[in-house]
Subunit: 305 residues, 2 copies
Protein backbone atom coordinates (compact mmCIF):
# COMPACT_ATOMS: atom_id res chain seq x y z
CA UNK A 1 0.00 0.00 0.00
CA UNK A 2 1.32 3.38 -1.02
CA UNK A 3 0.29 6.90 -0.17
CA UNK A 4 -0.71 8.77 -3.32
CA UNK A 5 -1.97 12.24 -4.19
CA UNK A 6 -4.08 11.96 -7.35
CA UNK A 7 -4.50 15.29 -9.15
CA UNK A 8 -7.43 15.11 -11.57
CA UNK A 9 -7.30 17.28 -14.67
CA UNK A 10 -10.27 19.07 -16.15
CA UNK A 11 -11.14 16.09 -18.36
CA UNK A 12 -12.14 14.10 -15.26
CA UNK A 13 -15.32 16.19 -15.31
CA UNK A 14 -15.65 17.74 -18.78
CA UNK A 15 -14.52 17.49 -22.36
CA UNK A 16 -13.94 20.61 -24.40
CA UNK A 17 -17.14 22.25 -25.58
CA UNK A 18 -19.51 20.13 -23.51
CA UNK A 19 -22.42 21.62 -21.61
CA UNK A 20 -21.23 22.21 -18.07
CA UNK A 21 -24.28 20.84 -16.31
CA UNK A 22 -24.49 18.41 -13.41
CA UNK A 23 -25.44 15.42 -15.53
CA UNK A 24 -22.48 15.73 -17.93
CA UNK A 25 -19.95 16.23 -15.15
CA UNK A 26 -21.46 13.45 -13.07
CA UNK A 27 -21.16 11.02 -16.01
CA UNK A 28 -17.46 11.86 -16.47
CA UNK A 29 -16.80 11.65 -12.74
CA UNK A 30 -18.47 8.24 -12.63
CA UNK A 31 -16.23 7.01 -15.45
CA UNK A 32 -13.21 8.53 -13.70
CA UNK A 33 -13.85 6.44 -10.59
CA UNK A 34 -14.51 3.34 -12.70
CA UNK A 35 -10.91 3.80 -13.82
CA UNK A 36 -9.45 4.82 -10.48
CA UNK A 37 -11.22 2.44 -8.11
CA UNK A 38 -8.40 -0.11 -7.81
CA UNK A 39 -5.88 2.62 -7.10
CA UNK A 40 -8.09 4.38 -4.53
CA UNK A 41 -9.23 1.19 -2.80
CA UNK A 42 -5.81 -0.36 -2.40
CA UNK A 43 -3.76 2.69 -1.41
CA UNK A 44 -3.97 5.71 0.84
CA UNK A 45 -5.16 8.30 -1.65
CA UNK A 46 -6.15 11.94 -1.63
CA UNK A 47 -8.03 13.28 -4.66
CA UNK A 48 -7.34 16.82 -5.83
CA UNK A 49 -8.88 18.48 -8.88
CA UNK A 50 -8.88 21.54 -11.10
CA UNK A 51 -11.74 24.03 -11.41
CA UNK A 52 -10.91 26.16 -14.48
CA UNK A 53 -14.21 26.13 -16.37
CA UNK A 54 -16.31 25.88 -13.20
CA UNK A 55 -14.76 28.79 -11.31
CA UNK A 56 -14.92 30.82 -14.51
CA UNK A 57 -18.67 30.16 -14.73
CA UNK A 58 -19.20 30.95 -11.05
CA UNK A 59 -17.21 34.16 -11.21
CA UNK A 60 -18.96 35.21 -14.41
CA UNK A 61 -22.30 34.48 -12.79
CA UNK A 62 -21.34 36.82 -9.95
CA UNK A 63 -20.18 39.47 -12.40
CA UNK A 64 -23.50 39.39 -14.24
CA UNK A 65 -25.73 39.27 -11.18
CA UNK A 66 -23.72 41.68 -9.04
CA UNK A 67 -23.51 39.32 -6.03
CA UNK A 68 -20.87 40.51 -3.56
CA UNK A 69 -18.31 37.72 -3.78
CA UNK A 70 -14.54 37.81 -4.06
CA UNK A 71 -12.67 35.45 -6.33
CA UNK A 72 -11.38 33.46 -3.35
CA UNK A 73 -15.02 32.90 -2.39
CA UNK A 74 -15.79 31.66 -5.90
CA UNK A 75 -12.97 29.13 -5.49
CA UNK A 76 -14.50 27.96 -2.19
CA UNK A 77 -17.86 27.63 -3.93
CA UNK A 78 -16.32 25.64 -6.76
CA UNK A 79 -14.88 23.19 -4.20
CA UNK A 80 -18.37 22.54 -2.86
CA UNK A 81 -19.85 22.32 -6.34
CA UNK A 82 -17.28 19.85 -7.68
CA UNK A 83 -16.99 18.03 -4.36
CA UNK A 84 -20.65 17.10 -4.46
CA UNK A 85 -20.34 15.73 -8.01
CA UNK A 86 -17.27 13.66 -7.16
CA UNK A 87 -18.79 12.36 -3.92
CA UNK A 88 -22.05 11.30 -5.58
CA UNK A 89 -20.18 9.60 -8.43
CA UNK A 90 -17.71 7.78 -6.18
CA UNK A 91 -20.49 6.81 -3.77
CA UNK A 92 -22.32 5.07 -6.59
CA UNK A 93 -19.16 3.30 -7.77
CA UNK A 94 -18.60 2.28 -4.16
CA UNK A 95 -22.07 0.73 -3.97
CA UNK A 96 -21.67 -0.97 -7.36
CA UNK A 97 -18.43 -2.70 -6.42
CA UNK A 98 -18.80 -2.94 -2.65
CA UNK A 99 -15.84 -0.68 -2.01
CA UNK A 100 -14.90 0.22 1.52
CA UNK A 101 -13.77 3.84 1.65
CA UNK A 102 -15.78 6.91 2.63
CA UNK A 103 -15.34 9.84 0.27
CA UNK A 104 -15.87 13.42 1.40
CA UNK A 105 -14.76 16.90 0.40
CA UNK A 106 -12.71 19.15 2.65
CA UNK A 107 -12.83 22.86 1.83
CA UNK A 108 -9.12 23.57 1.60
CA UNK A 109 -7.31 26.88 2.03
CA UNK A 110 -3.80 27.34 0.70
CA UNK A 111 -1.43 29.93 2.06
CA UNK A 112 0.36 32.17 -0.43
CA UNK A 113 2.88 34.97 0.13
CA UNK A 114 1.54 38.47 -0.31
CA UNK A 115 5.01 39.45 -1.59
CA UNK A 116 4.87 36.80 -4.31
CA UNK A 117 5.91 38.41 -7.62
CA UNK A 118 2.61 37.20 -9.14
CA UNK A 119 0.76 39.91 -7.20
CA UNK A 120 2.56 42.67 -9.06
CA UNK A 121 2.22 40.84 -12.36
CA UNK A 122 -1.22 39.18 -12.65
CA UNK A 123 -1.27 36.98 -15.72
CA UNK A 124 -3.92 34.32 -15.28
CA UNK A 125 -7.10 35.18 -17.26
CA UNK A 126 -10.43 34.28 -15.67
CA UNK A 127 -14.11 34.81 -16.46
CA UNK A 128 -15.70 36.26 -19.55
CA UNK A 129 -14.52 38.56 -22.30
CA UNK A 130 -15.35 42.27 -22.18
CA UNK A 131 -15.69 44.60 -25.14
CA UNK A 132 -13.91 47.97 -25.21
CA UNK A 133 -17.21 49.46 -24.03
CA UNK A 134 -17.47 47.16 -21.02
CA UNK A 135 -13.91 47.87 -19.97
CA UNK A 136 -14.66 50.87 -17.76
CA UNK A 137 -17.29 48.95 -15.84
CA UNK A 138 -14.86 46.09 -15.24
CA UNK A 139 -12.17 48.50 -14.06
CA UNK A 140 -14.61 50.04 -11.57
CA UNK A 141 -14.53 46.67 -9.79
CA UNK A 142 -10.83 47.26 -9.25
CA UNK A 143 -9.91 44.54 -11.71
CA UNK A 144 -6.79 44.44 -13.80
CA UNK A 145 -7.79 43.89 -17.41
CA UNK A 146 -5.64 42.61 -20.24
CA UNK A 147 -6.37 42.55 -23.96
CA UNK A 148 -6.53 39.12 -25.58
CA UNK A 149 -7.35 38.15 -29.15
CA UNK A 150 -11.12 38.03 -28.48
CA UNK A 151 -11.39 41.02 -26.16
CA UNK A 152 -10.50 42.13 -22.65
CA UNK A 153 -10.35 39.70 -19.77
CA UNK A 154 -9.70 40.06 -16.09
CA UNK A 155 -6.27 38.76 -15.12
CA UNK A 156 -5.46 37.65 -11.60
CA UNK A 157 -2.28 36.65 -9.79
CA UNK A 158 -1.32 32.98 -9.70
CA UNK A 159 1.07 32.89 -6.74
CA UNK A 160 3.10 29.94 -5.48
CA UNK A 161 1.33 27.66 -2.99
CA UNK A 162 3.24 27.64 0.33
CA UNK A 163 1.23 25.64 2.84
CA UNK A 164 -2.01 23.64 2.89
CA UNK A 165 -3.89 24.91 5.96
CA UNK A 166 -6.12 21.83 6.24
CA UNK A 167 -3.16 19.45 5.85
CA UNK A 168 -3.25 18.05 9.43
CA UNK A 169 -6.86 16.98 8.99
CA UNK A 170 -6.23 15.49 5.56
CA UNK A 171 -3.29 13.47 6.84
CA UNK A 172 -5.21 12.32 9.91
CA UNK A 173 -8.06 11.08 7.77
CA UNK A 174 -5.83 9.05 5.47
CA UNK A 175 -5.06 6.59 8.27
CA UNK A 176 -8.56 5.24 8.52
CA UNK A 177 -9.63 4.09 5.09
CA UNK A 178 -11.06 7.43 4.09
CA UNK A 179 -10.87 9.06 0.68
CA UNK A 180 -10.59 12.83 1.04
CA UNK A 181 -11.16 15.26 -1.82
CA UNK A 182 -9.04 18.32 -1.07
CA UNK A 183 -7.18 21.32 -2.52
CA UNK A 184 -9.87 21.72 -5.19
CA UNK A 185 -8.94 24.23 -7.88
CA UNK A 186 -5.53 24.64 -6.21
CA UNK A 187 -7.16 25.70 -2.94
CA UNK A 188 -8.81 28.86 -1.60
CA UNK A 189 -5.96 31.40 -1.63
CA UNK A 190 -5.27 33.07 1.71
CA UNK A 191 -2.47 35.25 3.06
CA UNK A 192 -1.17 35.74 6.58
CA UNK A 193 -1.09 39.34 7.82
CA UNK A 194 0.08 40.00 11.36
CA UNK A 195 -0.73 36.46 12.41
CA UNK A 196 -4.21 36.49 10.86
CA UNK A 197 -5.51 34.76 7.76
CA UNK A 198 -7.35 36.62 5.00
CA UNK A 199 -8.78 35.45 1.70
CA UNK A 200 -7.06 37.04 -1.30
CA UNK A 201 -8.08 37.27 -4.94
CA UNK A 202 -5.86 34.89 -6.83
CA UNK A 203 -5.94 31.42 -8.32
CA UNK A 204 -3.39 28.78 -7.45
CA UNK A 205 -2.20 26.17 -9.90
CA UNK A 206 -3.77 22.89 -8.81
CA UNK A 207 -0.79 20.72 -9.77
CA UNK A 208 1.66 22.88 -7.85
CA UNK A 209 -0.67 22.90 -4.82
CA UNK A 210 -1.07 19.12 -5.11
CA UNK A 211 2.71 18.81 -5.09
CA UNK A 212 2.92 20.83 -1.86
CA UNK A 213 0.26 18.59 -0.30
CA UNK A 214 2.01 15.42 -1.47
CA UNK A 215 5.30 16.54 0.10
CA UNK A 216 3.60 17.65 3.33
CA UNK A 217 1.84 14.32 3.89
CA UNK A 218 4.94 12.31 2.87
CA UNK A 219 3.20 10.74 -0.08
CA UNK A 220 5.08 8.06 -1.99
CA UNK A 221 3.64 9.12 -5.31
CA UNK A 222 2.19 12.18 -6.98
CA UNK A 223 -0.06 11.12 -9.85
CA UNK A 224 -1.04 13.92 -12.23
CA UNK A 225 -3.84 12.75 -14.48
CA UNK A 226 -4.64 14.56 -17.71
CA UNK A 227 -5.89 13.81 -21.23
CA UNK A 228 -2.67 12.32 -22.64
CA UNK A 229 -0.87 9.10 -21.74
CA UNK A 230 2.60 10.67 -21.74
CA UNK A 231 4.58 13.87 -21.60
CA UNK A 232 6.19 14.58 -24.96
CA UNK A 233 9.31 16.41 -26.00
CA UNK A 234 9.48 18.15 -29.36
CA UNK A 235 5.71 18.01 -29.23
CA UNK A 236 4.02 18.36 -32.63
CA UNK A 237 7.35 18.13 -34.48
CA UNK A 238 8.62 15.29 -36.69
CA UNK A 239 10.94 14.09 -33.89
CA UNK A 240 8.21 14.18 -31.21
CA UNK A 241 8.99 11.66 -28.47
CA UNK A 242 6.96 10.33 -25.55
CA UNK A 243 8.77 10.25 -22.21
CA UNK A 244 8.53 6.99 -20.26
CA UNK A 245 10.66 6.55 -17.15
CA UNK A 246 12.76 9.70 -16.91
CA UNK A 247 15.20 10.95 -14.29
CA UNK A 248 14.19 14.17 -12.58
CA UNK A 249 17.38 15.91 -13.78
CA UNK A 250 16.67 14.96 -17.37
CA UNK A 251 13.12 16.29 -17.42
CA UNK A 252 14.31 19.43 -15.64
CA UNK A 253 16.69 19.99 -18.54
CA UNK A 254 13.73 19.71 -20.96
CA UNK A 255 11.79 22.15 -18.80
CA UNK A 256 14.61 24.69 -19.02
CA UNK A 257 14.68 24.24 -22.80
CA UNK A 258 11.04 25.38 -22.89
CA UNK A 259 9.71 22.01 -24.06
CA UNK A 260 6.44 22.23 -22.13
CA UNK A 261 3.45 24.47 -22.80
CA UNK A 262 2.72 27.36 -20.43
CA UNK A 263 -0.46 26.82 -18.43
CA UNK A 264 -0.78 23.22 -19.66
CA UNK A 265 2.11 20.73 -19.41
CA UNK A 266 4.66 23.09 -17.82
CA UNK A 267 3.03 23.39 -14.38
CA UNK A 268 2.45 19.62 -14.32
CA UNK A 269 6.10 18.92 -15.02
CA UNK A 270 7.15 21.55 -12.46
CA UNK A 271 4.85 20.00 -9.85
CA UNK A 272 6.29 16.54 -10.55
CA UNK A 273 9.90 17.76 -10.38
CA UNK A 274 9.35 19.57 -7.08
CA UNK A 275 7.70 16.55 -5.52
CA UNK A 276 10.56 14.20 -6.47
CA UNK A 277 13.24 16.74 -5.49
CA UNK A 278 11.52 17.14 -2.12
CA UNK A 279 11.87 13.44 -1.43
CA UNK A 280 8.86 11.89 -3.18
CA UNK A 281 9.57 8.46 -4.67
CA UNK A 282 7.96 8.89 -8.08
CA UNK A 283 5.71 11.30 -9.92
CA UNK A 284 3.45 10.12 -12.73
CA UNK A 285 1.96 12.16 -15.54
CA UNK A 286 -0.52 10.14 -17.56
CA UNK A 287 -4.18 9.74 -18.48
CA UNK A 288 -6.95 8.61 -16.15
CA UNK A 289 -7.45 5.44 -18.20
CA UNK A 290 -3.77 4.67 -17.90
CA UNK A 291 -3.38 5.26 -14.17
CA UNK A 292 -3.25 1.59 -13.15
CA UNK A 293 -0.67 0.78 -15.81
CA UNK A 294 1.42 3.77 -14.80
CA UNK A 295 1.45 2.70 -11.17
CA UNK A 296 2.79 -0.71 -12.12
CA UNK A 297 5.44 0.91 -14.32
CA UNK A 298 4.05 -0.30 -17.63
CA UNK A 299 3.01 3.04 -19.14
CA UNK A 300 2.82 6.80 -18.65
CA UNK A 301 5.59 9.27 -17.90
CA UNK A 302 7.29 8.35 -14.64
CA UNK A 303 9.66 10.87 -13.07
CA UNK A 304 12.16 9.21 -10.74
CA UNK A 305 15.02 10.22 -8.47
Amino acid sequence: MSRIVIALGGNALLQNGEKRDYETQYAHAYQTFENLRFVTENNETVITHGNGPQVGDIQQSHDISGIAAHLHQSVAMSQGYIGEILANAYGNIRTKYGLRKNIFTIITRVLVDENDAAFSNPEKPIGRYYSDEGLEEAKRNGWIMKKFKDGWRRVVPSPEPREILEEPVIEYLLHNGNLPIAVGGGGVPVVRRGGSIYGIDAVIDKDLASSVLATAINADFLMILTDVDHVFINYGKPDQKALHEVHVDEIEKYLREGQFGEGSMKPKVMAAIRFVKNGGRKAFITSIENSMNALSGRSGTIIVQ
Copy 2:
Protein backbone atom coordinates in the same frame (compact mmCIF):
# COMPACT_ATOMS: atom_id res chain seq x y z
CA MET B 1 -16.11 17.08 28.26
CA SER B 2 -19.37 16.68 26.37
CA ARG B 3 -20.16 16.03 22.74
CA ILE B 4 -22.20 18.89 21.30
CA VAL B 5 -23.72 19.78 17.94
CA ILE B 6 -23.87 23.57 17.69
CA ALA B 7 -26.35 24.80 15.09
CA LEU B 8 -25.62 28.42 14.17
CA GLY B 9 -28.53 30.58 13.08
CA GLY B 10 -28.36 33.16 10.32
CA ASN B 11 -27.34 35.90 12.77
CA ALA B 12 -23.95 34.17 13.26
CA LEU B 13 -23.05 35.64 9.86
CA LEU B 14 -25.51 38.45 9.10
CA GLN B 15 -28.01 40.81 10.65
CA ASN B 16 -31.17 41.71 8.77
CA GLY B 17 -30.62 44.18 5.97
CA GLU B 18 -26.82 44.10 6.05
CA LYS B 19 -24.74 43.90 2.90
CA ARG B 20 -23.96 40.25 2.33
CA ASP B 21 -20.30 40.65 1.50
CA TYR B 22 -17.28 38.74 2.82
CA GLU B 23 -16.16 41.46 5.21
CA THR B 24 -19.53 41.78 6.99
CA GLN B 25 -19.99 38.04 7.35
CA TYR B 26 -16.38 37.56 8.44
CA ALA B 27 -16.82 40.18 11.20
CA HIS B 28 -19.91 38.42 12.55
CA ALA B 29 -18.26 35.01 12.31
CA TYR B 30 -15.25 36.34 14.24
CA GLN B 31 -17.54 37.62 16.99
CA THR B 32 -19.40 34.31 16.98
CA PHE B 33 -16.20 32.41 17.75
CA GLU B 34 -15.21 34.97 20.39
CA ASN B 35 -18.40 33.87 22.13
CA LEU B 36 -18.13 30.16 21.39
CA ARG B 37 -14.43 29.51 21.95
CA PHE B 38 -14.72 28.10 25.48
CA VAL B 39 -17.47 25.74 24.40
CA THR B 40 -15.64 24.58 21.28
CA GLU B 41 -12.23 24.24 22.95
CA ASN B 42 -13.41 22.27 25.96
CA ASN B 43 -15.88 19.90 24.32
CA GLU B 44 -16.20 17.69 21.26
CA THR B 45 -18.14 20.01 19.01
CA VAL B 46 -19.48 20.00 15.47
CA ILE B 47 -20.58 23.31 13.99
CA THR B 48 -23.59 23.38 11.67
CA HIS B 49 -25.09 26.48 10.09
CA GLY B 50 -27.93 27.88 8.01
CA ASN B 51 -27.60 29.30 4.51
CA GLY B 52 -30.91 31.06 3.80
CA PRO B 53 -29.75 34.43 2.46
CA GLN B 54 -26.57 33.00 0.92
CA VAL B 55 -28.15 30.17 -1.05
CA GLY B 56 -30.86 32.59 -2.16
CA ASP B 57 -28.17 34.90 -3.56
CA ILE B 58 -26.32 32.06 -5.22
CA GLN B 59 -29.45 30.60 -6.79
CA GLN B 60 -30.57 34.05 -7.93
CA SER B 61 -27.15 34.65 -9.43
CA HIS B 62 -27.54 31.42 -11.41
CA ASP B 63 -31.04 32.40 -12.51
CA ILE B 64 -29.81 35.74 -13.82
CA SER B 65 -26.67 34.47 -15.51
CA GLY B 66 -28.17 31.24 -16.86
CA ILE B 67 -25.42 29.01 -15.42
CA ALA B 68 -26.49 25.36 -15.49
CA ALA B 69 -26.74 24.55 -11.79
CA HIS B 70 -29.39 22.71 -9.82
CA LEU B 71 -30.53 23.92 -6.43
CA HIS B 72 -28.70 21.07 -4.70
CA GLN B 73 -25.53 22.34 -6.35
CA SER B 74 -26.20 25.83 -5.03
CA VAL B 75 -26.44 24.33 -1.55
CA ALA B 76 -23.06 22.62 -2.03
CA MET B 77 -21.60 25.94 -3.19
CA SER B 78 -23.03 27.73 -0.16
CA GLN B 79 -21.29 25.20 2.08
CA GLY B 80 -17.94 26.09 0.52
CA TYR B 81 -18.69 29.80 0.61
CA ILE B 82 -19.74 29.87 4.28
CA GLY B 83 -17.18 27.26 5.29
CA GLU B 84 -14.33 29.48 4.13
CA ILE B 85 -15.66 32.43 6.13
CA LEU B 86 -16.09 30.37 9.30
CA ALA B 87 -12.68 28.72 8.92
CA ASN B 88 -10.87 32.02 8.41
CA ALA B 89 -12.66 33.60 11.37
CA TYR B 90 -12.09 30.67 13.72
CA GLY B 91 -8.48 30.34 12.59
CA ASN B 92 -7.82 33.93 13.62
CA ILE B 93 -9.55 33.44 16.98
CA ARG B 94 -7.45 30.30 17.40
CA THR B 95 -4.25 32.27 16.81
CA LYS B 96 -5.38 35.11 19.10
CA TYR B 97 -6.07 32.81 22.06
CA GLY B 98 -3.69 29.95 21.31
CA LEU B 99 -6.52 27.46 20.86
CA ARG B 100 -5.76 23.92 19.91
CA LYS B 101 -8.36 22.65 17.49
CA ASN B 102 -8.22 22.50 13.71
CA ILE B 103 -11.33 23.76 11.98
CA PHE B 104 -12.35 22.58 8.52
CA THR B 105 -15.49 22.27 6.43
CA ILE B 106 -16.87 18.98 5.20
CA ILE B 107 -19.25 19.16 2.26
CA THR B 108 -22.16 17.21 3.66
CA ARG B 109 -24.92 15.38 1.80
CA VAL B 110 -28.15 14.50 3.54
CA LEU B 111 -30.40 11.69 2.38
CA VAL B 112 -34.10 12.44 1.98
CA ASP B 113 -36.96 10.18 0.88
CA GLU B 114 -38.25 10.75 -2.63
CA ASN B 115 -41.71 9.77 -1.34
CA ASP B 116 -41.62 12.49 1.32
CA ALA B 117 -44.91 14.40 1.21
CA ALA B 118 -42.93 17.63 0.75
CA PHE B 119 -42.15 16.64 -2.85
CA SER B 120 -45.83 16.76 -3.81
CA ASN B 121 -46.35 19.95 -1.83
CA PRO B 122 -43.36 22.30 -2.21
CA GLU B 123 -43.79 25.20 0.17
CA LYS B 124 -40.37 26.69 0.88
CA PRO B 125 -39.82 29.92 -1.12
CA ILE B 126 -36.32 30.58 -2.46
CA GLY B 127 -34.65 33.14 -4.70
CA ARG B 128 -36.03 36.32 -6.16
CA TYR B 129 -39.53 37.58 -6.90
CA TYR B 130 -40.94 37.35 -10.42
CA SER B 131 -43.57 39.61 -11.95
CA ASP B 132 -46.57 38.18 -13.78
CA GLU B 133 -44.61 38.79 -17.00
CA GLY B 134 -41.59 36.79 -15.81
CA LEU B 135 -43.74 33.88 -14.70
CA GLU B 136 -43.70 31.99 -18.01
CA GLU B 137 -39.92 32.14 -18.20
CA ALA B 138 -39.64 30.78 -14.67
CA LYS B 139 -42.07 27.97 -15.45
CA ARG B 140 -39.99 27.01 -18.48
CA ASN B 141 -37.26 26.02 -16.02
CA GLY B 142 -39.70 23.47 -14.65
CA TRP B 143 -40.12 25.44 -11.44
CA ILE B 144 -43.22 25.47 -9.28
CA MET B 145 -44.18 29.07 -8.67
CA LYS B 146 -46.41 30.43 -5.91
CA LYS B 147 -47.87 33.90 -5.54
CA PHE B 148 -46.77 35.84 -2.49
CA LYS B 149 -47.63 39.38 -1.43
CA ASP B 150 -44.76 40.91 -3.44
CA GLY B 151 -44.98 38.68 -6.51
CA TRP B 152 -44.26 35.14 -7.64
CA ARG B 153 -41.51 33.06 -6.11
CA ARG B 154 -40.16 29.64 -6.77
CA VAL B 155 -41.17 27.16 -4.07
CA VAL B 156 -39.21 23.99 -3.41
CA PRO B 157 -39.79 20.92 -1.25
CA SER B 158 -38.36 20.88 2.26
CA PRO B 159 -38.30 17.15 3.02
CA GLU B 160 -37.35 15.46 6.28
CA PRO B 161 -33.62 14.71 6.71
CA ARG B 162 -33.10 10.94 7.08
CA GLU B 163 -29.38 10.25 7.17
CA ILE B 164 -26.15 12.26 7.09
CA LEU B 165 -23.99 10.57 4.45
CA GLU B 166 -20.73 12.01 5.75
CA GLU B 167 -21.57 11.07 9.36
CA PRO B 168 -18.86 8.38 9.75
CA VAL B 169 -16.15 10.86 8.82
CA ILE B 170 -17.57 13.58 11.07
CA GLU B 171 -17.70 11.23 14.03
CA TYR B 172 -14.21 9.91 13.36
CA LEU B 173 -12.80 13.42 13.32
CA LEU B 174 -14.37 14.39 16.61
CA HIS B 175 -12.07 12.04 18.51
CA ASN B 176 -8.92 13.93 17.75
CA GLY B 177 -9.38 17.51 18.79
CA ASN B 178 -10.80 18.63 15.48
CA LEU B 179 -13.61 21.10 14.91
CA PRO B 180 -15.66 20.08 11.87
CA ILE B 181 -18.13 22.38 10.13
CA ALA B 182 -20.77 20.15 8.58
CA VAL B 183 -24.38 19.88 7.37
CA GLY B 184 -24.25 23.50 6.14
CA GLY B 185 -27.65 24.83 5.11
CA GLY B 186 -29.21 21.55 6.24
CA GLY B 187 -27.01 19.56 3.84
CA VAL B 188 -26.95 18.89 0.11
CA PRO B 189 -30.21 16.99 -0.49
CA VAL B 190 -29.79 13.62 -2.17
CA VAL B 191 -32.09 10.65 -2.75
CA ARG B 192 -31.35 6.96 -3.18
CA ARG B 193 -32.71 5.35 -6.36
CA GLY B 194 -31.96 1.69 -6.98
CA GLY B 195 -28.95 1.80 -4.71
CA SER B 196 -27.51 4.98 -6.26
CA ILE B 197 -27.35 8.51 -4.90
CA TYR B 198 -28.64 11.50 -6.85
CA GLY B 199 -28.82 15.18 -5.97
CA ILE B 200 -32.38 16.48 -5.79
CA ASP B 201 -33.78 20.00 -5.79
CA ALA B 202 -34.92 20.71 -2.27
CA VAL B 203 -33.76 22.49 0.85
CA ILE B 204 -33.52 20.78 4.20
CA ASP B 205 -34.18 22.55 7.48
CA LYS B 206 -30.79 22.98 9.15
CA ASP B 207 -32.05 22.48 12.70
CA LEU B 208 -33.81 19.24 11.82
CA ALA B 209 -30.71 18.00 9.97
CA SER B 210 -28.53 19.02 12.94
CA SER B 211 -30.81 17.00 15.19
CA VAL B 212 -30.35 13.92 12.98
CA LEU B 213 -26.57 14.41 13.10
CA ALA B 214 -26.60 14.89 16.88
CA THR B 215 -28.52 11.64 17.37
CA ALA B 216 -26.32 9.74 14.92
CA ILE B 217 -23.05 10.72 16.63
CA ASN B 218 -24.52 10.16 20.12
CA ALA B 219 -24.09 13.79 21.10
CA ASP B 220 -24.86 14.74 24.69
CA PHE B 221 -26.26 18.11 23.71
CA LEU B 222 -27.85 19.83 20.74
CA MET B 223 -27.35 23.57 21.01
CA ILE B 224 -29.50 25.65 18.66
CA LEU B 225 -28.22 29.21 18.59
CA THR B 226 -30.39 32.05 17.34
CA ASP B 227 -31.04 35.74 18.01
CA VAL B 228 -33.07 35.37 21.22
CA ASP B 229 -32.00 34.12 24.65
CA HIS B 230 -35.11 31.98 25.20
CA VAL B 231 -38.09 30.33 23.58
CA PHE B 232 -41.30 32.10 24.54
CA ILE B 233 -44.89 30.96 24.90
CA ASN B 234 -47.72 33.38 24.25
CA TYR B 235 -45.13 35.37 22.34
CA GLY B 236 -46.06 39.03 21.89
CA LYS B 237 -49.07 38.76 24.21
CA PRO B 238 -49.50 40.29 27.69
CA ASP B 239 -48.85 36.90 29.33
CA GLN B 240 -45.71 36.19 27.24
CA LYS B 241 -43.39 33.89 29.17
CA ALA B 242 -39.80 32.78 28.57
CA LEU B 243 -39.15 29.05 28.91
CA HIS B 244 -36.17 28.07 31.08
CA GLU B 245 -35.68 24.40 31.94
CA VAL B 246 -38.64 22.60 30.39
CA HIS B 247 -39.51 18.92 30.11
CA VAL B 248 -39.72 17.59 26.58
CA ASP B 249 -43.39 16.57 27.08
CA GLU B 250 -44.31 20.05 28.22
CA ILE B 251 -42.73 21.85 25.24
CA GLU B 252 -44.28 19.27 22.92
CA LYS B 253 -47.67 20.27 24.31
CA TYR B 254 -46.88 23.93 23.47
CA LEU B 255 -45.81 22.84 19.98
CA ARG B 256 -49.15 21.10 19.44
CA GLU B 257 -50.95 24.26 20.61
CA GLY B 258 -49.26 26.15 17.75
CA GLN B 259 -47.17 28.33 20.08
CA PHE B 260 -44.13 28.50 17.77
CA GLY B 261 -43.76 30.34 14.48
CA GLU B 262 -43.62 28.36 11.23
CA GLY B 263 -40.19 28.53 9.61
CA SER B 264 -38.68 30.26 12.65
CA MET B 265 -39.06 28.83 16.17
CA LYS B 266 -41.17 25.79 15.26
CA PRO B 267 -38.45 23.79 13.45
CA LYS B 268 -35.97 24.63 16.23
CA VAL B 269 -38.34 23.30 18.89
CA MET B 270 -39.10 20.24 16.75
CA ALA B 271 -35.38 19.57 16.29
CA ALA B 272 -34.81 19.88 20.04
CA ILE B 273 -37.73 17.58 20.91
CA ARG B 274 -36.62 14.91 18.46
CA PHE B 275 -33.07 14.96 19.77
CA VAL B 276 -34.15 14.53 23.40
CA LYS B 277 -36.75 11.89 22.54
CA ASN B 278 -34.08 9.98 20.60
CA GLY B 279 -31.92 9.76 23.71
CA GLY B 280 -30.05 13.07 23.75
CA ARG B 281 -29.39 14.43 27.26
CA LYS B 282 -30.42 18.05 26.74
CA ALA B 283 -31.23 20.45 23.93
CA PHE B 284 -30.60 24.18 24.28
CA ILE B 285 -32.24 27.01 22.38
CA THR B 286 -30.59 30.32 23.13
CA SER B 287 -28.47 33.15 21.72
CA ILE B 288 -24.82 32.90 20.72
CA GLU B 289 -23.86 35.34 23.50
CA ASN B 290 -25.69 33.20 26.01
CA SER B 291 -24.28 29.82 24.98
CA MET B 292 -21.82 29.46 27.88
CA ASN B 293 -24.48 30.35 30.44
CA ALA B 294 -26.93 27.93 28.88
CA LEU B 295 -24.44 25.08 29.04
CA SER B 296 -23.95 25.66 32.76
CA GLY B 297 -27.73 25.77 33.25
CA ARG B 298 -27.92 29.43 34.20
CA SER B 299 -29.85 30.75 31.19
CA GLY B 300 -31.53 29.91 27.90
CA THR B 301 -34.26 27.40 27.15
CA ILE B 302 -33.15 23.91 28.16
CA ILE B 303 -35.22 20.94 27.01
CA VAL B 304 -34.71 17.91 29.22
CA GLN B 305 -35.94 14.34 29.44
